[in-house]
């Protein structure tokens, strides 16, 4: 992110295309987020079940 003192630059089309590809790759993280969510949920339910 640019600082307040510096005017932002304008990216060229190649950079923009790279950015789209990078964002598409980065978006795959939601798969891992959901997987971690599932694992945490399963772990919590197992622990709660064991404590009953």
């Amino acid at each position: 992110m640019s600082t307040d003192d510096q005017p932002a630059s304008t990216p060229d089309p190649d950079e923009l295309a790279d950015e789209i590809r990078a964002d598409a790759r980065a978006e795959r993280r939601v798969l891992w987020v959901a997987l971690v969510g599932l694992l945490v949920t399963a772990a919590v339910l197992v622990v709660l079940g064991a404590l009953r």
Binding site: M1, S2, D4, Q6, P7, A8, S9, T10, P11, P13, L16, A17, E19, I20, D23, A24, A26, E27, R28, R29, V30, L31, V33, A34, L35, V36, G37, L38, V40, T41, V44, L45, L48, L51, R52
Partner: protein, 497 residues
């Protein structure tokens, strides 16, 4: 089947109704990982159209200088970006602030002043949209709020989706960005991750978007012209209305999670209540206005892509819209079962709340992981979102006897049979009680001597139940035909980004 059995079945059905919003929440979150591959980035392409930004402003002198300056620093070709500030007859220093900025950036910021204001945001926007459409220069139009701070890369991350002509509008992720947020703003920050970063990813997957964020909606010129060149002025949810029109006219609406903008949100319960009653009343109006759309798939598809009439989208929409009804139904069901079939009541209660615990853990974990910045600010608000007493109810469902035997036993006490009965009834009715107690939080916030109690009460009762109570209040106001006025949410320029 005897009358008693029929009554038990009816009460169990009421409890099951209470499970529908929980299941809908899980369904929505189950769609989030699908966004890893089912998103619009594959059809996006480098595209930097000539954009007109319309900023509606009524007494926004405190916030405009910062937001305009950030617009001027966008990583976007300066010759392809113009800003129209539509001054709705402000009585503060808004004109001076805008004119000063216009002088700093000649030709890039324009001050449009309405002679007579006060008609509401939609009218103000229409003044700017008409001005922008009158000129062929504009290829896309960005509607924002005066306090919203755009990150340098946010606009170009939105415009790339308009390279696909099937897309009519794009919305960004609005993150609560107050510099020193209080508890209410932190709760809203967490809520925005659930309602935007999570829910709108799910809606991208479904191909049906519920709402373009009012502070960050980018329209193609073709879309604006197709939906009539103006924003609807008859509802309190003009952004939702525009979203629906766009999709029903055959164009897609896309949520871009990587385009992040920062906004200042209410930091008191009273301000929150005012803002959300307006939103909820708007949703009541939208639900009625588009009654022909719900659960009607296949809706006549003109150019494909819109799925507002799908069952999945309908269930998600109505699980939010009718959440207070589901809560009332489940509470009546459990209390009724307690009176006529105690064992069934206990099984129903534990099943419902076990499901709630699973949903709570899954949704909270995913929400906190989805947006690290918000998680750092609002993790405690995420954990306490349902309310501390709801966590007590969850523990009571998981550990029978914990609150009736174990805890009193630690204190050398023993709960009487009457006490157990009252406790059980309170557990069964808690969701309803929380919703009915929520106005107390607002009332405390409105009395200077009691204001200090409003935040602790908010944590005890829960932000979720407060939102449900606001929705219920909106139902009542709509049903009574209360005057629908566009109350502005006061902004003070707290956003830091």
């Amino acid at each position: 089947m005897s009358g008693h059995d029929a009554l038990v079945v009816a009460l169990v059905v009421l409890v099951l109704l209470g499970a529908v919003p929980v299941l809908a929440g899980i369904l929505q979150y189950a769609l989030v990982p699908v966004h890893a591959w089912r998103n619009h980035l594959r059809d996006a392409a480098p595209y930097l159209p000539r954009v007109v930004v319309v900023v509606p402003a009524w007494n926004e002198g405190a916030v405009l200088a910062a937001s305009l300056e950030r617009l001027m620093r966008l990583e976007y070709p300066p010759d392809r970006l113009r800003v129209l500030v539509v001054d709705d007859a402000s009585t503060d220093d808004t004109p001076d602030v805008v004119l000063a900025k216009a002088a700093e950036h000649p030709g890039r910021i324009v001050h449009l002043r309405r002679a007579h204001g006060g008609q509401g945001k939609a009218h103000t926007l229409n003044h700017g949209i008409a001005h922008a459409l009158a000129d062929d220069w504009m290829q896309a139009l960005l509607i924002m709020d005066a306090d919203v701070i755009y990150r340098p890369d946010s606009l170009r991350r939105m415009t790339r989706h308009l390279a696909d002509e099937r897309v009519g509008a794009v919305t960004a992720f609005i993150r609560e960005g107050s510099g020193r947020p209080g508890s209410v703003a932190r709760f809203i920050g967490y809520e925005y991750v659930t309602a935007q970063a999570a829910a709108r990813r799910a809606q991208n997957v479904l191909g049906a978007m519920a709402c373009l964020a009012g502070g960050a909606q980018l329209h193609s010129r073709a879309n604006l012209e197709a939906i009539g060149g103006r924003i609807d002025t008859s509802t309190l949810a003009e952004d939702t209305y525009t979203t629906f029109l766009t999709q029903l006219d055959g164009r897609r609406v896309v949520f871009e999670p990587a385009a992040v903008v920062l906004a200042e949100e209410p930091d008191s319960v009273r301000a929150l209540w005012k803002q959300r009653v307006r939103w909820a009343r708007g949703n009541v109006q939208i639900t009625g206005t588009f009654e022909h759309v719900w659960f009607r798939r296949p809706w006549p598809v003109r150019r494909g892509g819109q799925r507002l009439g799908s069952w999945t989208f309908g269930v998600i929409w109505f699980s939010v819209y009718l959440l207070p009804v589901a809560i009332v139904a489940a509470s009546i069901g459990l209390v009724g079962l307690h009176l006529v079939a105690q064992t069934t009541a206990l099984v129903a209660f534990r099943s419902l709340w076990w499901l709630a615990v699973a949903a709570y853990v899954f949704i909270t974990t995913v929400t906190l992981l989805l947006d690290g910045e918000t998680a750092r600010r609002s993790w405690f608000q995420g954990l306490t979102f349902p309310g501390l007493l709801a966590l007590v109810v969850m523990s009571a469902a998981w550990f029978p006897g914990l609150w009736e035997d174990t805890v009193p036993g630690l204190l050398g006490l023993r709960m009487s049979d009457a006490g157990r009965d009252a406790w059980q009834l309170a557990l069964y009715a808690w969701p309803l009680l929380a919703m009915l107690l929520a106005p107390l939080v607002r009332a405390c916030d409105g009395v200077r001597a009691l204001r200090v109690l409003s935040v602790p009460l908010l944590y005890v009762i829960g932000f979720g139940p407060v939102l449900c109570a606001i929705t219920l209040d909106a139902y009542v106001k709509q049903w009574r035909g209360a005057v629908a006025v566009w109350d502005k949410t006061e902004k003070t320029g707290r956003v830091v980004g």
